[in-house]
Structures are given as structure tokens and as C-alpha cells.
Symmetry: C2
């Protein structure tokens, strides 16, 4: 057997092709239509090879969501918390509206409530994002822009949640002006914040 | 023909039974499994009667989401904006976690990205909610708790979005302490808001 845990998340030489095929199939076929067979056919990588690296379709999907270049994002460092959060807000908005990524976000959203296994993947995905975003909030605390008691998870929930809610549930566009308003809303001591 | 627009949204004598059957089928079968036939069978109301009041399953679903007792909510008037938003946050959290309503919220979320017709229903549903919540924000402006320039839609997006995002996408519990944190986050000039 060749399925050591260490290998999950690293992957074989053609990992990016396999991840792209996985996310494309998820977007087009939905979670139930995503199978190891269809990924093998789409990526041209032998099914045995796939199983050598990922013991299940959930393990493969988790790795694809975590490591695919398509969903990669940079942690901004603009010098201010407002500037950093504006870049993050713009990135989330791109993810939800870009033709390459919107169907993936939609498919994850569509499958999540009914499927505990996908909830676990989502949880790991967003926990990983938050871990990478933490230094941004630590810098803001050091600069005095944020009290040490601030809860980065709650701030990111409100920022990301507002954009998801607006775009996917209310079906209204998140304009640049709207994104700025939401950033100011979750920032301490802004114009919005002083009555 | 007996399908005047005025009747959509009012409905026949047994409307609440029909709405309950509609939402129950949506929760259990998903949007694609919801049909006029299945609603007729579940509610015991003749299909012809259903079509007399609602010309399509989307019209029926829109009426059920707007008028079902199960999803009804009161607009709080506690005397402070913080108190009002805390009650609203608790209500949203109940909606997303109560065994009677959580599957409905999950099914709407699951169906929304892929189905423009459901997006239109969601848009109408959330626009109706926001219209009912507006007086709460007007009172807050009159009391000097909120600047007149504040955007109630953005505040509700951030509040509701954070709770939806946390509960359904991150799969983490929204504790009472978390709900208070998010309310304070979107409120102007709070402890969270002063670095």
C-alpha cells in the first residue's frame, strides 16, 4: 500500500491537471457526478494512480480545493487594515463572479448543506484560509488599528458572508462601492462607525 | 381562467397546509423533486385547485416562502439598535438550526446558484424582509444610534451573511457570544469599534 497520510495534499507530478479536472467536473456535474473514474478520464491520469495518492473522492476534492492554482490567493500587505480588507473583499468577489471559479463556488455551496463530508471539507478549506489571513490581523493590532480583543474569524465571517449573501442569495451585484461599504462596516472607528 | 395576479400570495382556505407541504417537500426532495403533483399528494389538495391559485411551482414556492407561518418573524422594537439586532440575529440563527426550518434554508441555499428562477424568488424574499426591517433602522437614526448615511442592506448582509457563512459553510456553531460579537461588529461606535 502506498497511501501514507503524508502524501495526501502533496500529490503526484501532474497534480495541477488532476485538481483542474476535479474542480471542473464538480462545477459541471455537481458533487454527485464527481467520481474517481470521471477525474481519471478527464485528466488522462490512471485511476490506480489517483487512488495511490488520494484514498477517496473526498480526499481528492479536499486537496483540490486547498491546493489548486485556480483558487489560490495572496495575502495582501498594503500597510493598512482597510487596504488589506479591500483587497480580500475584491478577491472574494472575483471568486464568486469569475466564469472560471463561480461554478465551483456554486457547486460547493449547492452540495454543502446536504452532505456532511463536504461540510468537513469546507470547514478545513475556510480554516486554512483564516490561518493564512491571521498575520494581516496581527499587523493591524500592532499598528493600533484593531483592539487585541478583536475576533478575526467574526470579521472574516461578516466580510465574506456579506459578499456571499448579497451575490448568491439576494442576487444583487456587489459593486466596488458596496465592497468599500462592507469593509468600512466591519472596520473599527470608521465614518460608518461614528453616529 | 381564474389566475388573476391579485390572488397569488393570498391563496385558498387551506393555504397554510399547502405552504407547509411545499416547504417540507423542498427540504426533503430538493428543488428538482418539488412538483405540483407532489404538493397535491402531500397536502391532499386537488392539483387543479393548486393551479387555480398559483400558475407554476415557482409561484407557489415564492408564496410559501413569503407567507408560510413557519418562516414568519416579528420585527423587534426593544428600544435600542443593539437590542433589535440581537433579536434578529437570534431569529436568523434559529431559522438555520431549528429542525423544522434548517432543511428549508439548506435547500434554498443548495438550489440558488444553479437556478435563476430560485434566485428571483430569493431576491423577492430577502427584499421583503428588508422592507419590513427598515423601520427598525429609521428608529435607530432618529435615536442618533446610526448616521443617516448608514446602509441598512449592507448591515443586514453582514449580520445575516456572517451567521449563514459560519453555520452552513464553515460548519461551526454560532454561540450566543458569537452572535453578540457579530452584532457589535456591524454596530457603529461599540467596544469592538474603538481600538
Amino acid at each position: 500500500m502506498d497511501r501514507s497520510d503524508q502524501r495526501v495534499g502533496t500529490g503526484p507530478r501532474r497534480a495541477q491537471d488532476i485538481f483542474a479536472a476535479t474542480l471542473n467536473l464538480l462545477a459541471v456535474q455537481g458533487y454527485s457526478g464527481l467520481t474517481m473514474e470521471s477525474v481519471a478520464a478527464r485528466s488522462g491520469v490512471n485511476k490506480t494512480t489517483l487512488y495511490r495518492w488520494w484514498p477517496s473522492k473526498d480526499a481528492l476534492l479536499a486537496a483540490a480545493l486547498a491546493d489548486a492554482d485556480l483558487l489560490s490567493f495572496d495575502i495582501p500587505d498594503t500597510g493598512t487594515l482597510r487596504g488589506d480588507l479591500r483587497e480580500i473583499a475584491a478577491g472574494i468577489h472575483r471568486l464568486l463572479t469569475d466564469t472560471a471559479t463561480a461554478p465551483i463556488a456554486g457547486a460547493v455551496l449547492a452540495a454543502a448543506p446536504a452532505r456532511p463530508e463536504l461540510t468537513a471539507i469546507g470547514r478545513a478549506f475556510f480554516a486554512g484560509r483564516l490561518e493564512r489571513e491571521r498575520p494581516l490581523f496581527e499587523r493591524a493590532v500592532q499598528r493600533g488599528e484593531l483592539p487585541p480583543s478583536a475576533d478575526p474569524a467574526a470579521i472574516m465571517d461578516a466580510l465574506a458572508g456579506a459578499i456571499w449573501f448579497r451575490t448568491l442569495l439576494r442576487g444583487e451585484p456587489a459593486t466596488p462601492g458596496y465592497l468599500d461599504t462592507v469593509v468600512d462596516l466591519v472596520l473599527p472607528g470608521t465614518a460608518q462607525g461614528s453616529a
